[in-house]
Structure formats: structure tokens, C-alpha cells
């Protein structure tokens, strides 16, 4: 059901994180200038908006035309004149700017025809990419603050909590704790003041889900938080935003100012008698600051370090007062749940994981970007239908889910349902929704080492299992990858990993062994090859790799020779080539490039 407003002509220019990085803002400016210049020739002048993320980040900058629903990708400044003369003035499609559907190979003009979008369902991202985040009227036009009005006019706090409980919503920040239950526990405590907090620390490397929501639709988070505050009777809230997210901070501050000016925040909101104020706090700059007790310490002005807590923060949280902490995406789900009912939300998703989840789909997959899918979708659908399959049609090897302390899931588990419980059962986790696809040219030991490197750097150092354990695990992985490991190292790894998981103080340490344990579980052979045969089957660990050219497969095309930076490859044209092993630096260029699979790892 579209309102009259949204039928107007609009040009939406993506200014999400991915598109900004490739010049989205410049495209927006140029379109504005050129459309203004063409002014008199345009029959119905379009509204031009910079919006949040459209999802297909890797193909930005993206420009979309409504109501025709034409989307262009990889738009250059040089394309603008043609876009004006063709699409703006004549509603004609510029073929070459259309998306190519990764599945069918066909050019598609509307998002709804694109396989990337077909299986998606947008709830948390309902407005992201559709509205100008800094235009409150855009938000209002798409049902914004209607849930809040409904709450004030029809619902008491208990009814709000009941609705959220009925929805089955679980926290999107990683642990999947039932949101309604969290609110109920906090509401039960007779101790005031209470606080609500939004966790926008998003410390996972490469993640941008929460950032995209704040930069693309900040009011949905604000609205969710006012509703949550009303439910638990809190009058003060904080949005803790990762320090590097300058644009998110700016956008949120501006959105708060707008909401205050229009009476959606502050004293006596919408004449309800309910007061609520919201502040932005900039993050402490470490991954562990996203952990709830560290985050609260950081808001209090102390070092952002986890505390031993056996009393839940719903009872004693920020400044030892009852506190509800939820993730950005969790908050953004609240308004639709209130407006459309918990039952509606509960019908979406899998048995114990309701609704949708936003993922950042990256790695060796054709369509990379931001996706929102119903819980319970299979990994296969996510990677092969939405993601369009593996880049260069290589072999799929594994998918890493859950951020740095998640796990790697192998090819024979592609039919696994993506939800909290199945991912955990597979020794991985949902985490905040990172999803990194890996192809055959990925060494799983090296992958584990990459994550352990990150986590070792991010360990706060307070508790001994995590501080000392991660350090030793990193050293052992380094040994394995460089060929200096000894028999028994894998068992030592498992032993340390098991203890760190069981004994660490906070969630960082408790989950840090996942990358190791899951790769050992599913790729034990690969570890054994490294340790016992001193060979890296994927050809990634340089000390353990030897590339050879199979003379029967090589047809002497010379592509490898031309691209070898070490000039280690020789051979006459049309005759089999050879690699001079003494010069080869194991960079792997040749094996990546050879189109005849003639190069292998010895």
C-alpha cells in the first residue's frame, strides 16, 4: 500500500557506506545540478534524494528511479548527461547501466526482477535506501512514529511488552536473548531511574549492518527506543556509537534534534505525559567495548573493560541501575512489531528464531552487500540465490558466520538453516550477522589464524585464560602456517581452546576459540597436512606451498608468465610453461589466472 506521496517521481541516490566510498555523494550533487539546469524541459520534476544503503554495495554507486523502478549500478559522473536525456526526460532505460542478474546473466531494470532482492524481506531495513535519512517527513510518510502514537493511545507498558514477547524477537547483537523477556525482567524491578541503551558499537571487522541502519533510517531506532523506554519506564537513553562512525554520529545527532523539535523526544512526548531524552555517546574504540558491561563502564566514563557480573544489567546495569541494552537492529524491529502486531512477526522465520536478520554478505561471492532475509533461510539460498554463487564460478569451500569469533561452515552443510540455534549447533554463531564466503583458494588454518590475530589484539587482558590463551594459540597457528609446528600441536590448540571457552570472563574470551574449534572440526585434514606433511593444500601458506604447472594441461597461453611479478615462469608460446621454484614467491597470481587449471599445488 503506497501512499500518494511515494508515487511522485523520485531519484534515489545511494549514499550508503559502500556507495559513498566510490563517489555516491558526487553523483548526487551532479544529478541535482544537471536536473536543475534541465529544469524547464522536465515535465514532472523529480525529487532527488540521497538515501541509505541499497544493498548491492559492491556495484555502487547505485541510482534508482521511482515510480518506474529503474535501478542503475556503477554510475559514473560521465553517465549523468545520458541519464538526464534518456531516463529523466524520456523515461527510457539506459541498458548498459542496468544490473546484470548474477543468476540469469540477464540485465534487469527493476529491483524486484533481480535475484539478489527476490528472496529478501525487509523489516529492519524497510526504509533504508528508500528515504532521505535526514528528512523526518520521509520517515513519517512511511508509517514513521505511528507505532509510537499507537503505543501512547492504546497500550499500557505491559501490553507493549506482551506484544514484543509475542513477536518472538531475539536480540540481534549476537547472543539472541529474547527481547520481550529482557524488557519484562527490567520492568519488574522496582528501582528507578532506569535506562535504555542502543548498542551501535559494531566492532566486527568489515561489518556495516548497524551503521547502515543508523545512516539510512535513524528515526526507526529512535522510535524503537522511545517505545522500549515507555515499556520499562525509563526516561533517559543512550546510543553508543562506534567512534569511527563519524557519519552515523552526525546523522543520529541530527535525527535526535529533529525528533525533539517535532515532539517525538523530550518532555511530554506526543502529549502523552511521557518524558524521554536520548544522548549519543561515542565508543571507546575497542572491539570489547561492545560487550555489555564494558559498554556501560565506558558510558559511565570508566575504562571500557568487562566486569565480572552475575547480576544481570536489567537489575543492575548503567550506574548500577536497571538497564535495557539492545542492538541497533533489535530496536529498528520494534516499530513494525508494534504497528503490525507480534503475531505477524512471529509468523516469519524459523521455529525459535523469528523475523528476519540483516547480514553483510561478503567474500568470494558474486553479489556482495547488505541483505535482509527471513530467519531459517538456508545457507545455500543465501549464497547461491541471493549471492549469485561463487565468484569466477570456483568451488565453494566454507562460509564464516558470526564475526571474528564465529565459525566456518563447510560445503556439505550448505543446507543448514540460518538461525540462532542451528548456527550455534554447527559450532558457529549468528553474531551480529557477518557472512564471509570462501572459495577453494582459502586455507582454513590461515583463516583461523586471521581471526585469532584480531582477537588477540582485541583481548582486554584482564582475565588470564583469554590474555595468555589467545597469545599461545596465535603462536601455535603461526607455527603451523609457517611449517615449524610439531606433532601434537593440534591437540594443544584444542586443549587451550576448550579451557579459554569454558573459563574466560566475558563473551570475547568465551567465543574466541570458535574459529579454531570449528576449523579443526570440519577441516582437520587440512591441519594434519600442515603439521605432518608440511603442505598447505590451498596454496596460501607460503612456506608450505609449491606451485607446479602440469605440462599436459598447459597450452602455453603465457598468461601466467606475463603476470608473474617474480618473473619465475618461463616457456615458449604454445608450449608448456615451467615455474622456477627458486624464484617463485608463492604469491599465487598464476594459479588464480590460469584458465585451464594447469597450475596446481604440489
Amino acid at each position: 500500500m503506497k501512499s500518494e506521496q511515494s508515487q511522485k517521481r523520485k531519484i534515489l541516490v545511494c549514499c550508503g557506506p559502500g556507495c559513498l566510498a566510490v563517489g555516491g555523494r558526487e553523483i548526487l550533487q551532479e544529478l541535482r545540478t544537471k536536473v536543475a539546469e534541465a529544469g524547464a524541459d522536465i515535465k514532472v520534476e523529480p525529487v532527488i534524494k540521497g538515501t541509505g544503503c541499497h544493498g548491492l554495495c559492491e556495484q555502487g554507486p547505485i541510482v534508482r528511479f521511482l515510480p518506474e523502478d529503474i535501478s542503475y549500478c556503477r554510475v559514473n559522473l560521465a553517465d549523468i548527461d545520458e541519464i538526464i536525456s534518456q531516463t529523466v526526460l524520456q523515461q527510457k532505460v539506459v541498458e548498459r547501466l542496468l544490473f546484470t542478474d548474477a543468476l540469469t546473466g540477464r540485465r534487469v531494470s527493476s529491483q524486484s526482477e533481480n535475484s539478489f532482492y527476490k528472496k529478501q524481506l525487509k523489516i529492519a531495513l524497510r526504509n533504508t535506501g528508500e528515504i532521505d535519512p535526514l528528512n523526518l517527513d520521509d520517515y513519517l510518510e512511511r508509517d514513521g512514529y505511528r507505532a509510537l502514537a499507537k503505543v501512547f493511545s492504546q497500550m499500557d507498558p505491559g501490553a507493549v511488552i506482551a506484544e514484543v514477547e509475542q513477536s518472538g524477537l531475539r536480540g540481534r547483537g549476537g547472543a539472541g536473548f529474547p527481547t520481550g523477556l529482557k524488557w519484562r525482567q527490567c520492568a519488574r524491578v522496582d528501582n528507578f531511574p532506569k535506562y535504555v541503551i542502543c548498542n551501535a558499537d559494531e566492532g566486527d571487522p568489515g561489518a556495516f549492518m548497524d551503521r547502515s541502519i543508523i545512516e539510512g533510517d535513524p528515526h526507526s531506532v529512535i522510535e524503537g527506543m522511545v517505545i522500549g523506554a515507555y515499556a520499562v519506564k525509563a526516561h533517559r537513553g543512550f546510543i553508543y556509537i562506534r567512534d569511527e562512525y563519524a557519519l552515523a554520529v552526525k546523522t543520529m545527532l541530527e535525527a535526535i534534534r529533529q525528533a525533539e523539535a517535532r515532539g517525538y523526544l523530550g518532555r511530554n512526548i506526543l502529549d502523552s505525559g511521557f518524558d524521554f531524552s536520548l544522548e549519543v555517546v561515542r565508543g571507546g574504540g575497542a572491539f570489547v567495548c561492545g560487550e555489555s558491561s564494558a559498554l556501560m563502564a565506558s558510558i559511565e566514563g570508566r575504562v571500557g573493560e568487562p566486569r565480572a557480573k552475575y547480576i544481570r544489567s536489567v537489575e543492575r546495569g548503567l550506574w548500577d541501575q536497571p538497564t535495557v541494552l539492545n542492538n541497533v537492529e533489535t530496536w529498528a524491529n520494534i516499530p513494525p512489531i508494534i504497528l503490525r502486531g507480534g503475531e505477524w512477526f512471529n509468523r516469519i522465520g524459523s521455529e525459535k528464531s523469528k523475523g528476519t536478520k540483516v547480514f553483510s554478505l561478503v567474500g568470494k561471492v558474486k553479489n556482495t552487500g547488505l541483505v535482509e532475509v527471513p530467519m531459517g533461510i538456508s545457507l545455500r539460498e543465501l549464497i547461491f540465490d541471493i549471492g549469485g554463487g561463487i565468484l569466477n564460478d570456483r568451488e565453494f569451500k566454507a562460509v564464516q558466520t558470526g564475526g571474528p569469533s564465529g565459525g566456518c561452515i563447510p560445503a556439505d552443510m550448505l543446507d543448514l538453516k540460518v538461525d540462532f540455534d542451528s548456527l550455534a549447533a554447527a559450532d558457529s554463531m549468528m553474531g551480529s550477522g557477518g557472512m564471509i564466503v570462501m572459495d577453494e583458494r582459502t586455507c582454513m588454518v590461515d583463516t583461523a589464524r586471521y581471526y585469532i590475530d584480531f582477537l588477540t589484539e582485541e583481548s582486554c587482558g584482564k582475565c588470564s585464560p583469554c590474555r595468555e590463551g589467545l597469545k599461545r594459540m596465535r603462536e601455535i597457528l603461526n607455527d603451523i602456517c609457517s611449517g615449524s609446528s610439531r606433532p601434537g600441536d593440534i591437540e594443544i590448540l584444542e586443549e587451550i581452546a576448550g579451557m579459554v571457552r569454558e573459563s574466560s570472563l566475558c563473551g570475547l574470551g568465551k567465543t574466541a576459540p570458535n574459529p579454531i574449534l570449528s576449523t579443526i572440526k570440519y577441516f582437520r585434514d587440512e591441519y594434519d597436512e600442515h603439521v605432518n606433511k608440511k603442505r598447505c593444500p590451498a596454496g596460501i601458506c607460503r612456506e608450505l606451498t609449491t606451485f607446479i604447472i602440469n605440462s599436459e594441461e598447459c597450452n602455453g597461453c603465457g598468461l601466467c608468465k606475463k603476470n608473474c611479478p617474480a618473473e619465475a615462469i618461463s616457456g615458449e608460446s604454445k608450449a608448456p610453461h615451467v615455474i622456477d621454484l627458486s624464484r617463485c614467491t608463492k604469491c599465487g597470481n598464476c594459479i588464480e589466472l590460469c584458465r585451464f587449471n594447469a597450475i596446481t599445488v604440489k
Binding site: 582475565c463 590474555r467 595468555e468 573459563s503
Partner: protein
């Protein structure tokens, strides 16, 4: 609120709500190892050596922080627990010097004790170890951060109890150390040398200088006494070997000080055996001090007092006694002064 009933190692126990598992176990006489736990500090939960298995809990639980719950079933030495403790000890040991033979803490080091208890003689986890310079520039104690296991008790004591805030955690992850800001030597920090940190350090990272090389803990006789420095009356133990004082430590049970001491009571004992200490009366004759007998000295004082009284009257006299003497001595001293006709009496602790 009513008492909470739970079971620890198969034995039932009843405790107040809010009691930690560790405290409940101690009530039963069960000894759970701890490094970072300090009864005077807020729970820290850093070392994790106190982990226990609680039935139906997913992970192991730090007993020093976790409160008891009704019908909880706790195992303090299960296979899982012992396995985790052993791994923790091996990890700590992998980053700890193994010079126990000459370490001053030998015999009263918790790391040693627990390694003994769990049969850990060396660590098989090899890798980088800390290499930090010693801080021994002050006269009182040596800081060897290579031995520090980062339990944080010193930091907690210095910040929460003394309030000096001289030391804190610096850095993060594996490179975390404890010390004054900017890596300054402790002497240049706000340290008041109360020694509280030294007394709680479970390992040999903080060592009083005075006793270095002077005796093993088991050779030392600890003599309980009252600190003679001032009138507060702190209980202390003097550490005595072969009739000589080689150090002191606070009495954690002492009703007056409960483990606290000032820098004098904690470190100021070198005067006892000092070469410069006066052991006999000296009388200045022709500009030089000459040893004299007590009778000679007292006769001289009496003569001078009498002379002053006669010439200028009793108000020309003042008696100054020492807080290091007993109450009884001081009582007699003021009586003496008053019998001489003056009320001018005072003692050094008021200065």
C-alpha cells in the same frame, strides 16, 4: 531474606543470600584456589583459577564472584575443573620466570603452591615471555613485573583502600602490565609506600628490599607485636632470623589496623640494627661526645635540672617524651615533670 541451601562437593550448606560460592565453600572448609580474590575489594574475576562446575551451567563459574542460588549443586574439584585449572596454571607459568630457587617468595607463593597441588612442574606452552626491567630505584620494595600474574590485587588495594592511586593496568591484551602512569618508576608516582600491595601480591612480583637474601620464609620467626612508631597501636609481625629483624608485615586480624600499615611500620626497621644507633649515653666533653655510664648521665641531667629550677623557676622546664615508649612509661614521665612543678609535657607523636 531466608538462608539459601546448596550442595558443594556433595555436602549441604546453608548461607545468607548474596554469599559467593567461594565463601560458602570456605564455610565447609573446602579450599578453592584463588589469586585475584581479595576479601576487602570488589570482586574482580580476573585470574579464573577459582572456577568451579555448577550443574546445569554451560560454562565454568568463577566462584569468587558468583553468588549462591537455591539448590545449586557445585563441584569444586571435578575433572572438568581440574583440567581448566591445570591449563590456566600452565599458561600463567609459560609467561613467568622459573627462578624459584632464588626467588624471595619461594615457600609462600600461591603460583608455586597451586602448581604443586596440581602437579605442574613446567609449562609446555612455549612462546614469547615478558621481558621488563626491574624497578628497584626506591628504598623500600622491588617491582619485578616479569613475575606479575596481573591479578590486580595491588591495583585494587592502592585505589580502593589506600586511595593513593599510584598504579593501574597499562596497555591491553598480552602486553598489559601493572604500574604507575607513563611507565614512571614507582618512586616518581603518587605511591606513599604503605606496602599494602606488597602484602597482597600472591607471587614474587613485589618484594620488600630489606629482607632480600637474609632468610627463607620458613627460617623466619614471625613475632607478633604492636608497632611502636605512633599511638595508633597497629598489630604487626616482626620477621626475625637469628635474633635480627629482617622485615615486618601487618597482622590482617589486628583489630586496630586489619592489615593496614604506614610506610614506617611496614618498612622502617633498619634503625634497630643500625651502626649509627645510640646504645649508650654520650656526654659532650670539650666539644666531643664521650661514652658515659647511666649513673654519670643521670647525675648530670639531675644537676642541670636542679640548676635551672633554682635559677629560672619550674616553667623554664619542658618534658618531651616518645610515642615509642609504653603508656605506663609516659604516665610516669608526666608525673615526674609535674612533681618538678611544671605542666609542660608533650610527646613526639603530636609534632
Amino acid at each position: 531474606m531466608s538462608a539459601i541451601k546448596l550442595t558443594i562437593d556433595g555436602r549441604p550448606v546453608e548461607v545468607e543470600p548474596g554469599t559467593t560460592i567461594l565463601e560458602a565453600a570456605r564455610k565447609l572448609g573446602i579450599d578453592i584456589p584463588t589469586f585475584c580474590h581479595d576479601p576487602e575489594l570488589a570482586p574482580n574475576g580476573a585470574c579464573r583459577i577459582c572456577v568451579v562446575e555448577v550443574e546445569r551451567a554451560r560454562a565454568l563459574v568463577a566462584s569468587c564472584c558468583a553468588p549462591v542460588a537455591p539448590d545449586m549443586v557445585v563441584h569444586t574439584e571435578s575433572e572438568r575443573v581440574v583440567k581448566a585449572r591445570k591449563a590456566i596454571l600452565r599458561l600463567i607459568l609459560a609467561n613467568h620466570p622459573l627462578d624459584c630457587i632464588t626467588c624471595e617468595k619461594t615457600g609462600q607463593c600461591k603460583l608455586q603452591d597451586y602448581c604443586y597441588r596440581y602437579g605442574i612442574s613446567e609449562s609446555d606452552f612455549e612462546g614469547e615471555v615478558k621481558e621488563l626491567p626491574l624497578d628497584d630505584t626506591n628504598p623500600f620494595y622491588i617491582r619485578d613485573m616479569n613475575k606479575c600474574i596481573l591479578c590486580g590485587r595491588c591495583v585494587g588495594r592502592c585505589q580502593e583502600i589506600n586511595g593513593a592511586g599510584a598504579i593501574d593496568f597499562i596497555g591491553r591484551g598480552f602486553s598489559t602490565i601493572v604500574g604507575p602512569a607513563f611507565g614512571d618508576p614507582i618512586e616518581e608516582s603518587s605511591c606513599v609506600f604503605c606496602g599494602m600491595c606488597v602484602d597482597v601480591c600472591p607471587v614474587g612480583a613485589l618484594i620488600p628490599k630489606a629482607g632480600v637474601g637474609k632468610g627463607r620464609p620458613w627460617e623466619v620467626e614471625k613475632v607478633k607485636t604492636i608497632c611502636p612508631y605512633c599511638g595508633t597501636g597497629c598489630s604487626i609481625y616482626l620477621h626475625v632470623k637469628d635474633g635480627r629483624i629482617i622485615g615486618a608485615s601487618p597482622d590482617f586480624e589486628g583489630p586496630v589496623n586489619r592489615g593496614h600499615l604506614c610506610s614506617k611500620g611496614r618498612f622502617g626497621w633498619d634503625f634497630v640494627h643500625s651502626e649509627e644507633r645510640l646504645t649508650r649515653p654520650l656526654i659532650k666533653k670539650d666539644g666531643v661526645f664521650v661514652e658515659a655510664s647511666w649513673d654519670e648521665a643521670l647525675d648530670l641531667v639531675a644537676e642541670k635540672v636542679r640548676d635551672l629550677l633554682n635559677r629560672y623557676g619550674p616553667d623554664s622546664l619542658m618534658g618531651l617524651s616518645s610515642a615509642k615508649t609504653s603508656n605506663e612509661d609516659n604516665y610516669l614521665f608526666q608525673k615526674l615533670m609535674r612533681s618538678l612543678g611544671t605542666n609542660n609535657v608533650d610527646h613526639c607523636a603530636r609534632l
